[in-house]
């Protein structure tokens, strides 16, 4: 299982990459592995929307299950990955790259501190298995 050191993670299996005031959000390698083959992804927020920490930002469906993706932080949506709907399988093949879901302009950067680092998230995942 691959959990890059430069990212932060949530207990609900999202990853977040913060650069300055801008955060990029996706779902973790563990999440995509649990879901198995992903057949559908829909981002349900639009550029300019204000999201709060914990809001649903996307819905992902695999051959096994359907899952909501929650925003780990609060802020304004800067961009949405328009490619996901047409190629949801990239969530399986490249969860930390091509499968980014949205970017957010952080309204409360301190929220990042409450998130898990790679080691802590890895421990959480181990406990699940």
């Amino acid at each position: 299982m691959n959990f890059p050191e430069n990212l932060k993670y949530t207990e609900s299996n999202e990853w977040i990459n913060v650069e300055g005031k801008v955060a990029t959000i996706g779902i973790s390698d563990f999440a995509q592995d649990q879901l198995s083959d992903i057949v559908f992804a829909e981002v349900i927020v639009s550029v300019g929307d204000i999201v709060k920490k914990g809001d649903t930002i996307a819905t992902i469906e695999s051959v096994k299950a359907a899952a909501d993706v929650y925003s780990p932080v609060s802020g304004k949506v800067l961009s949405v990955n328009e490619q996901l709907a047409g190629a949801p399988e990239v969530i399986n093949t490249d969860p930390y790259g091509a499968a980014w879901i949205i970017t957010i302009d952080l309204s409360n950067p301190a929220e990042e501190n409450a998130l898990l680092n790679a080691a802590a998230y890895d421990k959480l995942v181990q406990a699940h298995e």
Binding site: F40, E42, I44, S46, A66
Partner: protein, 449 residues
């Protein structure tokens, strides 16, 4: 009556909830209502009851007893005997969702054929199976359109020529929701083209809903309306009479996004309160927003053709909080009846039925409009139903027709205050030429006083 609990069981149950006798459970019901004395006649035997009900049923007059010119959403078409023979097979006589493909190949194949037929008939890509009736199907179109825009568009435009009861059903479905319904004010101009709805469409509009043929029987091309809706990102939903689609161009070819309809004309008999059938078809891009389930054709592990439920994205057993509808178990048997009907008739047969309806209706309309005091309300092309302006209130005319064993048309003043003395007359392949001539004769009497 079999009651599984013994007195000892009951005493034990009462003890465990701290009550001493059964009556204590009803303490919250006001005393005088607690054990009302029912003034019922003495119990009768099954034989006696059967005879009594038989006698009561003789007071009914159905379309077997009367000549029928009543339509307004439900139509008296011929139902081939094979429809009933097939749907009464024990293997089919359940509407329950066939979750287990290994047990349900026949049902699943029938659903697959139903979907394929309805998609072809409406000119759409996907179709669910199914909704309760035409009214609830169109209300589901509102729900789907609203959910499609995730609540960001709250305006729904209803054509005033959409069936009044369908509009009522939409109002019931959307009560308490943020959805705003516009376009069908009581005194909306009924004679202008549906393109007049275009001025109401804006970026808050989720969906525009029209009927085809409209409630007054008129045929319009909704292509321009669809284009205007799409120009601002809104959807167009069309509620259809499926028989008309045997003859006229499909809503799909007009770029409609959702097509709903009353499936009753497709081999389902007229009956008070149903069961009827709600048709619902849409474009592939909305397949995950559509209520209900989709059956697909596949290959099993022995390489044989097989059918399974392939998509139930919005069904409540998958994700209740994401469902756009509570439809689950539904009108499977009626969907089957319509499948048998469509299969028996085929494309050409359906066209013949539609042509018969069209020509007979036009013969009737022309003859009635030539009577002194009567006139055709609209010059627009119509299918099998038309509005006549009469020299007397429609209710009086219908009373007179009933005296002659004719079930008259629909009294439009019930729903449209401006259409006093207007009657909606439906003609189908069931109406022989002599029946139409008799209708004309009786109507002629009205004017003579």
């Amino acid at each position: 009556m079999f009651i599984p609990h013994t007195d000892a069981d009951r005493a034990a149950m009462l003890r465990s909830i701290g009550k001493s006798k059964l009556e204590d459970l009803f303490g919250d019901v006001p005393k005088k209502y607690r054990f009302p004395v029912l003034d019922l006649p003495p119990a009768q035997t099954e034989m006696e009851i059967s005879a009594e009900l038989q006698e009561m049923s003789l007071a009914n007059e159905s379309v077997r007893d009367l000549v029928c010119f009543l339509g307004a959403g439900a139509y008296n078409h011929y139902v081939p005997a094979a429809v009933d023979a097939i749907i009464r097979r024990g293997e089919f006589l359940t509407a329950y969702t066939p979750y287990q493909p290994e047990l349900s190949q026949g049902t699943l194949q029938a659903i697959f054929e139903y979907q394929s037929n309805v998609a072809a008939l409406t000119g759409m890509e996907v179709c669910n199976a199914s909704h309760y009736d035409g009214a609830t199907a169109v209300a589901e179109a509102v729900n789907m359109a609203y959910a499609n825009f995730r609540g960001k568009r709250d305006k729904v435009i209803l054509s005033p020529a959409l069936h009044p009861q369908y509009r009522q059903t939409i109002r019931t479905y959307t009560e308490g929701s943020p959805i705003i319904l516009i376009g069908d004010d009581e005194h909306a101009d009924l004679k202008t083209s549906p393109d007049s709805l275009i001025q109401l469409i804006d970026s808050d509009t989720a969906v525009v809903i029209v009927q085809y043929p409209d409630f007054f029987g008129r045929i319009y091309d909704y292509t321009k309306l669809a284009d205007a809706a799409h120009a601002v990102g809104a959807l167009l939903a069309v509620s259809v009479n499926p028989i008309a689609l045997g003859l006229f161009k499909t809503p799909g070819s007009m770029n409609a996004d959702i097509v709903t309809g009353e499936g009753q004309p497709l081999g389902i008999p007229l009956s008070f309160g149903g069961p009827y059938l709600g048709l619902f078809a849409t474009r592939k891009e909305f397949v995950r927003k559509m209520a209900g389930r989709l059956t697909g054709e596949t290959i099993d592990n022995r390489g044989q053709k097989a059918y399974v439920l392939t998509l139930t994205a919005r069904e409540q057993h998958i994700r209740r909080e994401k469902a756009t509808s509570n439809i689950c178990t539904n009108q499977g048997l009626m969907a089957l009846a319509s499948t048998v009907y469509m299969s028996l008739l085929g494309k050409n047969g359906l066209r013949q039925v539609a042509e018969l309806c069209f020509h007979k209706a036009h013969y009737a309309a022309e003859r009635i409009a030539n009577l002194p005091g009567y006139s055709l309300w609209s010059p627009t092309t119509f299918f099998n139903e038309f509005v006549i302006h009469c020299p007397a209130p429609a209710s009086e005319i219908n009373d007179l027709l009933l005296d002659h064993d004719i079930l008259g048309g629909y009294d439009l003043s019930q729903d449209y205050p401006d259409l006093v003395n207007h009657i909606l007359i439906a003609v189908t392949e069931m109406n022989a030429c002599e029946q139409i001539d008799r209708l004309v004769e009786v109507l002629a009497e009205v004017n003579h006083g």
